[in-house]
């Protein structure tokens, strides 16, 4: 009963949503709304779980002195944001949005920009044209990069055109093939979930 009832509930909810694509009507609309309410309330509880989980983790860190002061700092920043949002609102021009624009945005942009260095150093170590495939990868990435900077155009004015062609034609074909693979894989996976053959989400 620990597995069968959840699988049965999932099957019922899934069948109702699935058949809704083919059968329309007031009864179905109400039934769909009934399940959609369940999903929305699940979202509410999901947010509560995330708050509980993060608070619990920070409490543990403080209790067992695992980088205690950093956890204090993190909690104080969370509380500051909650206080600013609750006290002065979240519209543009408020302290809350000022924190977002002048603290969150620069930190986020810098963290992502930092990856440029690590990608470059990883590429320097791993990009070696040992086979046809790796040579193709290397050449394609160099052309795409050169096509996007003024230096590429200065070397040869056709390089941006080549870069665009690579992005539009072979790259698009590769992406489409991967998307097809992903779609077919997800259909298979969800059919398995549907019939209870896949139970990883039930901690099995």
């Amino acid at each position: 009963m620990k597995k069968e009832i959840p699988i049965f509930m999932g099957l019922v909810a899934g069948v109702i949503w699935y058949t809704e694509f083919f059968i329309a009507g007031l009864f179905y609309e109400n039934l769909k709304l009934f399940f959609a309410n369940g999903l929305r309330i699940g979202g509410v509880v999901g947010v509560m779980i995330s708050i509980y989980s993060v608070s619990r983790q920070m409490y543990m860190k403080i209790k067992y002195n695992n980088e205690r002061y950093y956890s204090f700092l993190r909690i104080s920043m969370i509380l500051l944001m909650l206080f600013l949002g609750a006290k002065r609102g979240m519209s543009p021009g408020t302290p809350f949005m000022s924190m977002f624009m002048n603290v969150y945005v620069p930190f986020q942009a810098t963290v992502f920009s930092l990856l440029a260095f690590y990608i470059a150093s990883a590429a320097y170590r791993s990009f070696k044209a040992k086979s046809l495939e790796s040579a193709v990868l290397l050449v394609a990435s160099v052309i795409v990069m050169m096509g996007k900077i003024p230096l590429g155009e200065a070397i040869w004015d056709k390089i941006p055109l080549f870069g665009e062609w690579i992005l539009d034609a072979p790259s698009s074909a590769g992406r489409r093939a991967i998307i097809f693979g992903g779609y077919l894989g997800s259909i298979t996976m969800f059919i398995r979930i549907f019939f209870g053959l896949e139970r990883a989400h039930l901690s099995e």
Binding site: K2, I5, P6, I7, F8, G10, G14, Y18, F21, N37, G38, L39, G42, V44, V47, S53, E67, S71, L73, R74, M77, I78, L80, M81, L82, K87, R88, M90, M99, V103, Y104, P106, F107, A116, F117, I119, L132, E133, V136, A140, M145, K148, W165, I166, A169, P170, S171, S172, G174, R175, R176, I178, I179, F180, Y183, S186, I193, F194, H201, L202
Partner: protein
């Protein structure tokens, strides 16, 4: 209180110094992991969590939980029982934190994933058909350049799919097509890598422009951070010195 908050968070000093400090604190990681980077990291996590929770409050908790409960208090309808039952069912997710009773959470997860399956399957089938329809375009696209794109897209997609889905041994014509598929995939990976690198570099240039726009703040902050790093790594944090006897 409002005036105090405005004077702290809505003034030029804050606008000028915070982006510069945030940029340089995170950049200090390029030298080595250090307390300034960790302070910046934790400020970033704290601010993003606070922002996310308030957004969740506004767009999830208030409309889907607080407002229905308010309506229930004003006028209770029979259908409201279902909302309470859904809430109780969703609360079972908290059992995931328990080692002994973790299975109780399966009741909601079972519903959720079944529901998602019913939702995703028809949409995915629609997407497969849409992608296939878009693929079927006339080869004559007006110019050789455009037509060559279509030829490569059709042949490339077909050959990459050959590589993926044909479980027959890759020999003969099938092997050659699959090999072409691998080359197409490699071009895609290369182009994706190039685009990612350029995106990251663009972000880095943007951060350096912020520093250039605030020269005074950048110089002062850089000097302070460099001085801190020297003092920290020279005098405070002692690297462990391993000698042969340590491993005996």
């Amino acid at each position: 209180m409002d005036a105090l908050l405005d004077s702290i968070f809505l003034n030029n000093f804050f606008f000028r110094w915070m982006p510069v400090l945030a940029t340089l604190m995170i950049m200090s990681f390029l030298y080595r992991d250090n307390p300034l980077y960790k302070i910046g990291e934790n400020i970033f996590i704290g601010v993003s969590l606070g922002y996310g929770w308030l957004m969740s409050w506004n767009y999830v908790i208030r409309p889907f939980f607080i407002m229905p409960i308010n309506d229930m208090i004003i006028e209770f309808k029979a259908s409201d029982i279902f909302i309470i039952l859904w809430f109780l069912l969703a609360l079972t997710m908290f059992f995931r934190f328990s080692r002994k009773r973790g299975w109780v959470a399966n009741y909601y997860y079972g519903f959720f994933f079944g529901y998602a399956a019913g939702y995703v399957i028809p949409i995915t089938v629609q997407n497969v058909l849409r992608q296939s329809t878009n693929l079927m375009q006339p080869l004559n696209q007006g110019s050789l350049y455009e037509s060559s794109k279509w030829f490569v897209i059709i042949f490339g997609t077909f050959s990459a799919l050959m590589y993926f889905f044909f479980s027959k041994p890759h020999k003969g014509i099938l092997g050659k097509t699959a090999r072409a598929g691998i080359v197409i995939m490699m071009i895609f990976f290369g182009a994706a890598f190039g685009s990612t690198v350029m995106g990251r570099v663009a972000l880095f240039i943007d951060r350096t422009l912020v520093l250039v726009d605030h020269p005074f703040e950048s110089v002062i902050s850089s000097l302070i951070i460099i001085a801190f790093l020297i003092v920290y790594f020279k005098f405070i944090k002692k690297e462990k010195q391993f000698d042969d006897q340590t491993f005996v």
